[in-house]
C-alpha cells in the first residue's frame, strides 16, 4: 500500500521535474548577460582577487558569507554531536571484544598519516590555484585522523586542542571579515594586495581564509568522527 502510494507520488513528482527541467531554458544562454554574477566572476574575478580558481574566489569572497555559514553548520554538527552524546556519569569503558588492527594496517596507517596531512595542507593552501580548498583539505586532514583511529586505536585525538584550533580558526575567519569591514568597505572584503597571478602568494586574503577554513573543517570533522567512534553504548 505504502509502496503503491509512494510510487504514484514519485512518478508524478519525477514527471513534473523532468518535464519542467526540459522546458526550462538552462545552459549557456543564461549567463551571457554581463550583469549576471557568473559571467562577472569569470570576466573580472581573476583581476579583482587574483585567485586563479574562480570557484575559490566565489566561495571565499563574493559568497564568503555563505562559506561562513557553512563552516558554522559544521561547527554546529560538531558541538551538537557533543551535546547529544554528553552524559554526566562517565560510562565505564565497555569493550566489545575489539579486534585490533593487523600490524600491516597499523604500520601503513602510521606511515601514511603525515603524508595525508601534508596532502590536505597542500590542497587547502593551493585552494586559489588548483581545485580544492579549505573544505576538501579539511576533509582530507580529518580523514587522516580517521585513518589513525581505524589503524591504531591507541592513538587518541586531543579533543581539547582540537577545540582550540576550531575556535581560533573560526575567530580568525570572522576577524578577517571584520578587518575587511574596517580597512575596506564591506565584510569579508579582500583588503590585502592581490599578488602575482598563478603564484602561491596571490589572491589576497583567500589563502589565509582557506587556511583557517581548512583547520576548522579538519578539526570539526575529526571531532565528529572521534565523537562517533568513542561513543560506547
Amino acid at each position: 500500500m505504502r509502496i503503491l502510494i509512494s510510487c504514484v507520488l514519485l512518478v508524478i513528482l519525477s514527471l513534473g521535474l523532468v518535464f519542467a527541467l526540459e522546458q526550462a531554458p538552462f545552459g549557456s544562454n543564461q549567463i551571457d548577460n554581463a550583469d549576471k554574477p557568473g559571467r562577472f566572476y569569470l570576466n573580472q574575478g581573476m583581476e579583482k582577487t587574483g585567485a586563479a580558481n574562480v570557484v575559490t574566489s566565489v566561495v571565499v569572497t563574493y559568497r564568503g558569507f555563505d562559506t561562513l555559514g557553512e563552516v558554522t553548520i559544521l561547527f554546529i554538527a560538531a558541538i551538537g554531536l557533543g551535546a547529544v552524546f554528553h552524559s554526566r556519569k562517565k560510562v565505564k569503558r565497555y569493550e566489545k571484544e575489539k579486534q585490533s588492527a593487523s600490524l600491516i594496517l597499523q604500520t601503513g596507517c602510521r606511515f601514511l598519516f603525515p603524508l595525508i596531512v601534508l596532502f590536505g595542507t597542500y590542497v587547502f593552501i593551493h585552494g586559489h590555484l588548483s581545485p580544492g580548498g579549505g573544505f576538501q583539505g579539511g576533509v582530507i586532514i580529518a580523514s587522516a585522523f580517521l585513518l589513525l583511529f581505524l589503524g591504531c586505536e591507541e592513538k587518541k585525538i586531543p579533543m581539547k586542542s582540537m577545540n582550540t584550533v576550531e575556535s581560533l580558526a573560526g575567530i580568525i575567519f570572522v576577524g578577517i571579515g571584520l578587518a575587511g569591514l574596517y580597512w575596506g568597505e564591506s565584510f569579508l572584503e579582500n583588503f590585502l594586495p592581490r599578488g602575482m597571478d598563478y603564484m602561491l602568494l596571490s589572491g589576497g586574503v583567500i589563502p589565509i581564509i582557506y587556511i583557517a577554513i581548512g583547520f576548522k573543517v579538519g578539526a570539526e570533522l575529526a571531532g565528529i568522527v572521534a565523537g562517533l567512534i568513542e561513543r560506547n553504548p
Binding site: 505504502r2 502510494i5 509512494s6 507520488l9 514519485l10 508524478i12 513528482l13 513534473g16
Partner: protein
C-alpha cells in the same frame, strides 16, 4: 468627572485590590467597598447628562468614543448598584475562602468592564470591554471549583462564539462604512441593503442571545449561575446577562433602527416575529424546567432565562410600551433576582454550602430578614402588585393584548404561572415547613449580608409603588428611539387604552392582605411538628424522606418531566464530543512514523504539480 476618569477609577480600583490585600484583609475589604461605592456615586453624577467623548487615545488607529445618555445611564446605575451591593454582601460571604484578593479584584473588574460596555460609544471599545467582562466572568464562575469548572467552560466557549460573531459583525460594518462609532454607523446604515442588515442583525442576535441566554443559546446559564459564588450569581443573573439586552437594544434601536428591523423578512417570516417567538419560548420552557429543579440556585438560574424571555419579548415587540416594559423588567429582574440569589447565598453561608431544596426547610424563624427578602423577591418575580415586577409585566402584557397577539400573551401568562408554582416550592422548601434537626442552632445572616437584602427589598417595593422614578428615564430613551412617547407620572404610566395607577393597586392589595390576615388570625392554627414525628408504620424510612418537601411537584414532574429535557444542551454536548472525536481522529495523521511525514511532504509537492496539470491557471 468624565467618563474616562470614571472608568479609570473603576479599572484601577479593580486591579489595585492586590496592593491593600497584601497588607491586610480588612484594608482590602474597605478598599473594595470604597471603590464600588465611588463608582456608584460617580455613575450617579451622570444622571440625565448626555456626553459624547472622543478619546485622545486611539487603538490601532481607530478612534475610541465614550458616551452616555439615558439608556447608558439606566444600565450603568443598575450595574454599579448591583455591583456594590454584591461587594457588600461578599464581605462576610467570602471571608473564609481562599484567594479573596482575586475574588474582589474580579468582581470590581467585571463591574468596571460592564460600565465600560454601556459607556462605550463605538463598536471597538464595546468589544474590548465585552471581552474583558467575558474572561473575568469565566474566572469568577470557575472560582468555586468542582462542578464549577465545566460550567465555566460552557460559559466561556459560548461566550467566545458570541464574541467571534460580534467581531465579524462589527468589522463588516467597518468594512462598509470605515467607522465604528455608533452615531456614524446609525446615520449611514439606513441605506444598507436588507441582506446586509439582516446579516448584521442575525450575528447580533447570536452574540447577545448567547450572553442573554435566549433559548437556543441558554445552556451555559443554569450551570454557571448555580455554580458561581452567590454574590456573583447575583451580579451574573441580575446584571451581567442584561448586557445582552443592552446589546439587543443597541443593535435594534440605536444602530439599525426599529423601522428597518421590522421590515426584514424572508417570505412570510419576519425577523421580528422570529425574535418574539424565541422570547416566548424562552419564557415558557425554562420556567417549567425550573419547576423541576431541586437546587435552589439552579432553580433561580432557570428562572433568569424565563425572565429574560419577557425582556426580549418586550423589546422585540417594538411598541413603546413593550420596550419600556422590557427595559423596566431589566432593572426589576436585576433587583429581585439579585435579592433572591443573595438570600440563597445567606442560607448557603449559614448552612455551610447546602442549597438542596430537599434538605432544607423551616429556616423562617432562624433567618427572618432573609426570609422577608426572599418573600419580597419571590413576589417580585411572580409579578405581585406592589412590587416592581408587576409593573413591568403589566406593561408587557398590555402590549401583547393591545396588539392582539393571544398566543404570545398566553405564553407570557403560562410563564407567570410556572413562576408562581416554582417560587412557592422555593419559599416553602427553604423557609417554611419543618426545620431539620441539624439546623436547630442556625444564626441569623451577618449584617453585611442583611444590608443588601434589605436594600434590595426596599427598592423592589419602592419601584413597585412608585414606578415613575425609573420609568421616567426609560421613557426618555424610548422616545429617543423614535417610538411613540410615553406619558409617565410618578404613579404609573398613561397609555392610549388605559392608565396604570399603582396607588389604586396598592390600596387594593393592602386591603386584600388585611382581609387575608383577618382570616388567618381568626381561623384555627396549624400545629408545627418536628421532622422526627413522621409516621412511618414501623418501616425504616430513608433519612431524606423525613422531609415532606422532597419531590415537591412529583406528579407534575412525572407527567411532563420527560418532555422537558434540555435538548439544546444535549446538542451542544454532542457538538463538543464530536469536536473531541474529530480531534482524536485528526490526530491520527501524526502517526509517529517519520516516513509518513516525508510522504506528506512529497504528497504536497506532487499534489501541487497535479493541480497545476489539471488546473493550468
Amino acid at each position: 468627572m468624565t467618563l474616562g476618569l470614571l472608568l479609570i477609577v473603576a479599572f484601577g480600583g479593580a486591579l489595585l485590590v492586590y496592593l491593600p490585600g497584601k497588607i491586610s484583609s480588612k484594608l482590602r475589604d474597605v478598599w473594595a467597598v470604597l471603590v464600588a461605592l465611588a463608582v456608584l456615586l460617580g455613575t450617579a453624577t451622570f444622571y440625565g447628562k448626555s456626553v459624547h467623548d472622543a478619546l485622545s487615545y486611539q487603538f490601532l488607529g481607530l478612534p475610541l468614543v465614550l458616551r452616555t445618555n439615558d439608556l447608558s445611564w439606566f444600565f450603568a446605575i443598575a450595574i454599579s448598584g448591583v455591583g456594590s451591593f454584591s461587594i457588600i454582601f461578599s464581605l462576610s460571604y467570602i471571608k473564609n475562602r481562599e484567594r479573596t484578593d482575586f475574588y474582589y479584584s474580579l468582581m470590581l473588574l467585571i463591574n468596571a468592564s460592564m460600565l465600560g460596555i454601556v459607556f462605550a460609544g463605538d463598536l471597538l471599545s464595546f468589544y474590548v470591554f465585552w471581552e474583558i467582562m467575558s474572561w473575568a466572568t469565566f474566572l469568577l464562575i470557575s472560582y468555586n471549583r468542582g462542578n464549577a469548572l465545566p460550567a465555566g467552560m460552557k460559559y466561556i466557549v459560548m461566550s467566545m462564539t458570541g464574541s467571534a460573531a460580534y467581531l465579524v459583525a462589527a468589522l463588516s460594518l467597518y468594512a462598509k462604512y470605515s467607522t465604528l462609532t455608533f452615531s456614524a454607523i446609525s446615520t449611514q446604515i439606513t441605506t444598507a441593503s436588507p441582506g446586509f442588515t439582516s446579516f448584521i442583525l442575525i450575528l447580533g442576535f447570536m452574540v447577545f442571545g448567547i450572553k442573554n441566554a435566549l433559548v437556543p443559546f441558554h445552556t451555559w446559564l443554569p450551570d454557571a449561575h448555580s455554580e458561581a459564588p452567590s454574590p456573583f450569581s447575583a451580579v451574573l443573573s441580575g446584571i451581567l446577562i442584561k448586557m445582552g439586552t443592552y446589546g439587543f437594544i443597541l443593535f435594534l434601536y440605536v444602530l439599525v433602527g426599529f423601522h428597518q428591523f421590522s421590515q426584514l423578512a424572508w417570505k412570510a417570516v419576519s425577523l421580528q416575529s422570529v425574535l418574539c417567538w424565541l422570547g416566548a419560548i424562552t419564557i415558557v420552557i425554562p420556567t417549567f424546567i425550573a419547576l423541576m429543579q431541586d437546587d435552589a440556585k439552579r432553580l433561580l438560574a432557570w428562572h433568569s432565562i424565563g425572565q429574560i424571555g419577557y425582556i426580549i419579548l418586550g423589546i422585540a415587540y417594538g411598541t413603546s410600551l413593550g420596550v419600556a416594559g422590557g427595559a423596566f423588567h431589566v432593572l426589576n429582574h436585576a433587583t429581585f433576582k439579585a435579592l433572591l440569589f443573595l438570600c440563597v447565598g445567606a442560607v448557603e453561608y449559614r448552612t455551610g454550602g447546602v442549597r438542596d431544596l430537599n434538605s432544607l426547610g423551616g429556616l423562617m424563624r432562624r433567618m427572618p430578614i432573609t426570609f422577608i427578602g426572599a418573600l419580597i423577591g419571590a413576589f417580585g418575580i411572580i409579578g405581585m402588585p406592589l412590587t416592581n415586577g408587576f409593573v413591568s409585566k403589566w406593561l408587557i402584557y398590555k402590549t401583547l393584548i393591545l396588539n392582539q397577539d393571544p398566543f404570545l400573551a398566553f405564553a407570557a401568562l403560562l410563564g407567570t404561572w410556572g413562576t408562581l408554582l416554582s417560587f412557592y416550592k422555593f419559599l416553602h422548601n427553604i423557609f417554611l415547613g419543618q426545620l431539620p434537626e441539624k439546623y436547630k442552632d442556625l444564626k441569623k445572616a451577618p449584617t453585611s449580608m442583611q444590608i443588601p437584602i434589605l436594600l434590595y427589598s426596599g427598592i423592589i417595593v419602592l419601584f413597585g409603588v412608585l414606578p415613575g422614578i425609573p420609568l421616567k428615564i426609560i421613557a426618555g430613551f424610548v422616545t429617543s428611539f423614535g417610538l411613540t412617547p410615553l406619558n409617565v407620572n410618578l404613579w404609573g404610566i398613561v397609555s392610549e387604552t388605559g392608565t396604570l395607577n399603582t396607588i389604586n393597586l396598592s390600596m387594593a392589595v393592602v386591603s386584600a392582605f388585611f382581609a387575608a390576615w383577618v382570616v388567618f388570625a381568626f381561623s384555627r392554627r396549624s400545629v408545627p411538628t418536628t421532622a422526627q414525628d413522621t409516621y412511618a408504620a414501623g418501616a425504616s424510612i430513608p433519612r431524606d424522606k423525613y422531609q415532606y418537601s422532597v419531590e415537591f411537584y412529583n406528579p407534575l414532574y412525572r407527567m411532563m418531566g420527560r418532555y422537558l429535557r434540555d435538548v439544546v444542551d444535549e446538542f451542544y454536548g454532542w457538538l463538543a464530543r464530536v469536536t473531541q472525536m474529530t480531534g482524536e481522529i485528526v490526530r491520527r495523521l501524526y502517526t509517529g512514523d517519520a516516513r509518513d511525514y516525508v510522504l506528506y511532504i512529497v504528497l504536497i509537492v506532487a499534489a501541487s504539480i497535479g493541480l497545476k496539470i489539471w488546473w493550468p491557471t
